[in-house]
Each structure stands twice: as structure tokens, then as C-alpha cells.
Point group: C2
Chain length 399, copies 2
């Protein structure tokens, strides 16, 4: 609740801490203080990822790591990401308070710009952490105002010295709200996450000919706004045609000059396609691109296509999935194996170490929205399963 | 060219003087100076319309009036509106210089917020001038930042004391660029405008449910951006179905929060429908509204509908149309009778006095665009036909 007051959106219970803004800095400073108060060893790397590790272990020993992110979308809630970081801190505090001796240290991290709402792609910090993008390339990414990520990191004082790629953890487990309606619909407490949907983000810049809305016959128009609309209805139809887990979203459309009586000169739009099956996702991408080319040519509108993000579906580690399920069962919680519809930092860690995720309910399935909410009893359930899973992992060796 | 330097858009030949901005004020001040230098009697009314009349006549004698507007859209050119005001000034200067005695005074005016790009509806100043909207109502209209027209008039010092409705002219003639491709396509110098298309502007505010783009199954979505896209493709299809002069434009679409991975909570859009035939225009409106209701209900999205502007098609005065045609013929210019696809201040004056319009070519039919252009030879041709028409009207009495 204290972290959620930073960037709070007036008149709502939501908050806005877009990556590397002043509010994100204030949130970082607060969580840093809490890490410091627990006496943890804190490192910041070149992309601003912050990892806090229990002290007193052989430095060569890889920690069992948990964590998530503390940036939000522009109209976000308190729980998305933040839950995983704060629950990780609470697990460590619980262990430290109990005096229990561990065979491996625990670590908790937060990863820069997970939302990608300011600097695409999403999960950027964890992508750089696992070596999926060179640091130099990430630092040059700019926001809509052409401000670079590197400059913003410097401005808020979070460009650190720890190297990237970062240290490979022994294992990684992330607790997160579901951000969807499934657990609540089926009245289940714990989601045992088996993997993550593949994600394909495309930005289209459509360029036509601005002209007067009253005097230009329809046959002479080159209207990029019309093409954007046609593509939007096409991808909706595509989800019906492909069925299954296929989803498609046009979340952003910007017309220029955006006036009632002027045919726009340009339209910029984003298309978000996701599927658990990469073959079907590739088919969706192919059909989408084919349709864009066709309708743009018909309208005499130019197309520039930019891939903002492309992640294949991810399968989590079967041994860790089993551990999470065991934890939920032994605590007496109802549970269900399920995929994640959203991207998460954990899917990056799945590239370098055994990884899994734990979901807790989202009321009404609402997320990326100021009305995002999870009951305290569900937050506690998730944190307890995280505790059990992390402790089990300190004693588990992998082949 | 001097007026066009005020609000000039860097790197282009266009300019931006949205109504009642600082740049609009600077443009007004400059044209005021020119009116004053000619020794004209200048009045400003309560909506900021400025009219300059030749002095030395019986104050009871209604002037032959010309004029247009000097505000522009955000990405406008130098000619739209401004031509009619400056040509009117040149006509008066020519008469004054020649020493010719007139039976009636000439007057030239510019009318506030013709574009409606900042304060809807368009042609607002002339609408108030002719008594089509009470002044008090017009002053309360707000822009997108909730700034009222009345406050902006006060701020720039153009809320005058002349009454509205304004003085009824003997007759009104407006010279304007065509803003469309017809004259150029047919290589014709003068458009003899017979009337103006009817205009219907609607703003739709569509309210759905913001949610996460990855975790919300398609069947559970209430996506106002999808509805906006569907409506956009529908009105395009509607123009094909209705044929003839029917045009339809979606020039503005604003999604909130407008992020790649968030299904929008609201979409605001404008729909501009025009036709020379009011019956067909009404049919277009009915089908459009019916479709909006249907698709919004299917998607579970709320609709708020606001009429931003609604003007019936206007027929100009047959005697004045004849005069314009005679002027063009006697000057040896090719000419053609045609409707106006755009709205103009003249259509407001058609409510209170005999009215007509003169069109000159627009290169490539481009207007509401920085590349708007008309050759000097065509500007001169239009101004000469305006001169002849205004002079003839000073000697013509109407039954």
C-alpha cells in the first residue's frame, strides 16, 4: 500500500509509475530502503535491474532467485509486478527472522521496464539480464518523446556497475497476479503456471495523403486511418478464424492531424498477437501481414512495419512446476495448471535456469487498470507457496 | 505571403492559426492594420467577427459584403479563407484608388472560427452573425483543454461591442479556393458555386472495459477501439452503397490509454458525412447511427453521441450565380457551375441575404494541408471576378 501511494492516480486505487520516470525512481528508492533495512547485498546493473541477496554465503554459490518488476502501465494497479517483488522481500525477511539456516542464499530482484509501456519491448530489463539483448542496444531505445532509456537511467541515478548478462541463478520463481479471469471464474486459489504465451508486437506506420474531408471524392482518397480501421477489424476476425488461445489487440492508434474535417496523413497503430502455440502464432502473423499489404495497396497507402517485440511461447521447468503444485497442495489451497496469457520476467530466466511461476487471483480478471485488485487472503496464499517453493529449491540440486 | 508567415509551420509553406490562439490574434492584428490603413470603419462583434466598411455613405444603407475567415486548421495552408478576406480588401482598395463613386458601400469581414478545428461547430462566427446561434451559447463552447471560446476572446482582446445578429448586408459574395481537384482536372479557371453540401458531424464517445491484452479471452472483451474501427469501415462502405456525392470521413480517433498491451477503456471518434442531397444525407445518418448502436451492443460497449455540426445543403441565389458567371465570361475565363464540397461562411449569409461564391483552382486539390497552393494567376482571376460581381451588386436592387 505504501509503494502504491507513489504515482497514485487521484480518485482511484491505481497508480502510474512508467519506467524511469520520477515516480518510478521514487518507487525504486523506497523498495531499495526496504532491501537495505534487511541487510541484503544490493547490486544495480547497467540497465537498472536491482538484485538483493542474503549475505553470509560463499560468493560462488548461485542464489535461488525470485522477483518481478515495480514499473506499471500509465493506468495500472498496485499488484502487477509489485506483488512478486514485495512477496520475495517478505519471504527473505521471514527466513532471516526465523533464524533458519539455508544451504543457498535467496535473492530478490526487480527488473527495469517490464511493461514496455514506455520503452518497447516489454520485459526489457530481464531480457538484458539473461543476455538476450546487448546492453548498448537497450540503452539507445527511445520513448515517444525521443528520450533514450540510457539518458533516463542516468537522470534518475539507476545506471549501475553490475555486469550484464547477470549472474545465473540456481533457479528462478516469480509470484504474480493472474491478470485474467480464469482463477476467479473457477474459484481456484493458486495458478501453477506451466508456461507463457508467445507474443508478437508490431507497430505499423501508415502514410497516406491528407486532404479536405468535404471536397475529396472517395475514389481519390489515400486514407491511412481507414487502413488502420480495416486492419483492426481484420485481426479481430482472425482470432475467430484461428480459435483456441489466439488473441489479438489493437491498443494504440494515433492519427495525424486527428481533426474532424481532415483526412489523416498518417496513422500509427500497434497490433499485439499472442498464442501458446508458436505455429499458430506464426500463421496469425503471416495472415495479418498479408492483409496489411493488400489493404494498404488498395488504398494507395504506404506501410512501414516495425517489430516491437517477438517472444516464442515458453515452457517452464517440469521439476519446478511440480514443486509449486506440491506447495499449494500441502498448504491446502485449490490449484490448477495453466498457461500465462501475459509476458513475465520469469520467461526470460527460463532461458538460463530452471524457472516457474505462481499465480494468484485477479478480481474480475482486471489488470493494467486502476481497478486491479487481489484480496489480502490470496496475496498471503501466493506468498506462502512462494516461501515453500524457494525453500525447497535451496535444497534441490539439478543435473 | 505576409499573413502566411504568422503561424508558419517550419520546413513547409503551410501555417497553423487555430481560432483564438496567439497566432490567430497576431494574424487578426495584421489584417486589422491593413483595414485601418484603408480608412475603413471597423467593427468587432461579440464573437470576434471583424467587418470593415467603406466610409461616407448613409449609415442606413446596407453594404454589399464580401469576406471569409483567417483562422486555419492545425496543418493548414495560406489560402483557405485568407484569400477571400485579402481579395475583398484589394477590391475595396482598387475602388478607393480609382475614385469611382458607388451607390452602396462595400464591406469586407472575417468570421471567427470558421474551421471549427478548435471550437466546434465550424462556421461558428458567421452562424452567430446571422442569428443561427445565441451569442451566449457560442461563448461557452470549449476546446479539448476545456478552455472556453469566450475566455479566449477576452484573452486576445477580440470580444467586441457590435451586436449579434449583425447587420443584414444587401448581398454577400465569397471568393474561396476550391479545396478539391475538380477545376484543375477539367482545366477550368472559375468555379461558379451553386450551393454547398450538407454537413453532418458526429462525435462518438465509446466506453468499454480496459483489460490486459494477453490474459482476456476475446469473448470477454468490451473493446471500444474495435467498435471505432468497425464504424470507420462501415461508413466507408456506406459511401459505396449510397454512391453519388456522398462522402464520409473519420478524421479523429483517440483511444485511452492508447498502449500496445492494454485493451482501451474508451474511444472517442468523429464522423463527417456530407451530401448535396439532404434526403440521402439523412439516410446516411440513419444507417450510420443504426450500425453504431448494433455493433456497440454486440461488443457490450456504451455509446454517447454528440452532434458537433449539422447543416442542410444550401442553394445560392440564382441572380448572383448568374452575375458571377457573367463576370467570368466577360473576363474571358473558362468557368463551370459546381457545388461546394466544403462548408463556407457564405452559406450562413445565404440565410439572410442574396448570396453566392466564386472558386479558384487548388493545385492537386490539396487543402487543409501545408502543401495547399493556388497559382498567382488564378488568385488574380478570382479577385477580378469578385471585383466585377461586387460592383454589379452595388447597382442591383432585389425585390
Amino acid at each position: 500500500m505504501e509503494l502504491g501511494r507513489i504515482g497514485a492516480i487521484e480518485g482511484t486505487t491505481g497508480c502510474a509509475r512508467l519506467a524511469l520516470t520520477d515516480d518510478d525512481k521514487a518507487g525504486r528508492d523506497l523498495v531499495w530502503t526496504w532491501m537495505d533495512e534487511l541487510g541484503l547485498d544490493i547490486t544495480t546493473d547497467g540497465i537498472g535491474n536491482v538484485v538483493a541477496t542474503m549475505p553470509g554465503f560463499d560468493p560462488a554459490m548461485a542464489p535461488v532467485m525470485t522477483g518481478s518488476h515495480i514499473d506499471t502501465v500509465a493506468t495500472g494497479g498496485k499488484y502487477d509486478g509489485n506483488l512478486g517483488v514485495l512477496a520475495g522481500l517478505e519471504v527473505i525477511e521471514t527466513v532471516l527472522t526465523s533464524g533458519r539456516e539455508l544451504q543457498r542464499p535467496l535473492a530478490v530482484g526487480w527488473f527495469t521496464d517490464e511493461e514496455g509501456a514506455r520503452f518497447p519491448p516489454d520485459m526489457l530489463g530481464s531480457l538484458v539480464y539473461v543476455g538476450g539483448m546487448p546492453l548498448e542496444q537497450a540503452l539507445e531505445i527511445t520513448d515517444d518523446d525521443d528520450v533514450s532509456l540510457g539518458d533516463e537511467l542516468d537522470r534518475i541515478g539507476y545506471r549501475g556497475a553490475a555486469p550484464t548478462p547477470g549472474r545465473v541463478p540456481h533457479a528462478f520463481v516469480e509470484l504474480h497476479i493472474e491478470q485474467g479471469p480464469v482463477l476467479e471464474d473457477e474459484d481456484i486459489t493458486i495458478g501453477v503456471v506451466e508456461g507463457v504465451q508467445g507474443i508478437s508486437w508490431t507497430e505499423l506506420t501508415l502514410t497516406g495523403q491528407s486532404c479536405h474531408a468535404g471536397t475529396t471524392p472517395m475514389r481519390l482518397r489515400h486514407d491511412p486511418g481507414y487502413v488502420a480501421a480495416d486492419v483492426t477489424t481484420f485481426v479481430r476476425q482472425l482470432t475467430a478464424d484461428l480459435g483456441g488461445a489466439q488473441v489479438a489487440t489493437v491498443g494504440a492508434v494515433t492519427l495525424t492531424p486527428n481533426l474532424v474535417n481532415v483526412v489523416p496523413s498518417t496513422a500509427r497503430m500497434t497490433v499485439d498477437l499472442r498464442n501458446t502455440d508458436d505455429e499458430v502464432l506464426q500463421l496469425a502473423e503471416t495472415r495479418f501481414r498479408g492483409h496489411v499489404a493488400k489493404v494498404a495497396e488498395q488504398e494507395g497507402v504506404g506501410v512501414e512495419t516495425r517489430t516491437l517485440a517477438r517472444f516464442e511461447p515458453v515452457d517452464f521447468d517440469a521439476r519446478l512446476i511440480e514443486l509449486v503444485e506440491t506447495g499449494a497442495r500441502e498448504r491446502g489451497f485449490s490449484f490448477k495448471r495453466m498457461p500465462s496469457g501475459a509476458g513475465h520476467d520469469a520467461q526470460m530466466f527460463a532461458r538460463i535456469c530452471p524457472t516457474a511461476m505462481i499465480f494468484t487471483k485477479s478480481v474480475d480478471g482486471i489488470s493494467h487498470n486502476v481497478n486491479e485488485y487481489t484480496e489480502p487472503i490470496d496475496l498471503e496464499a501466493g506468498a506462502n507457496v512462494l516461501l515453500d517453493t524457494l525453500l525447497a529449491l535451496t535444497e534441490m540440486e539439478f543435473a
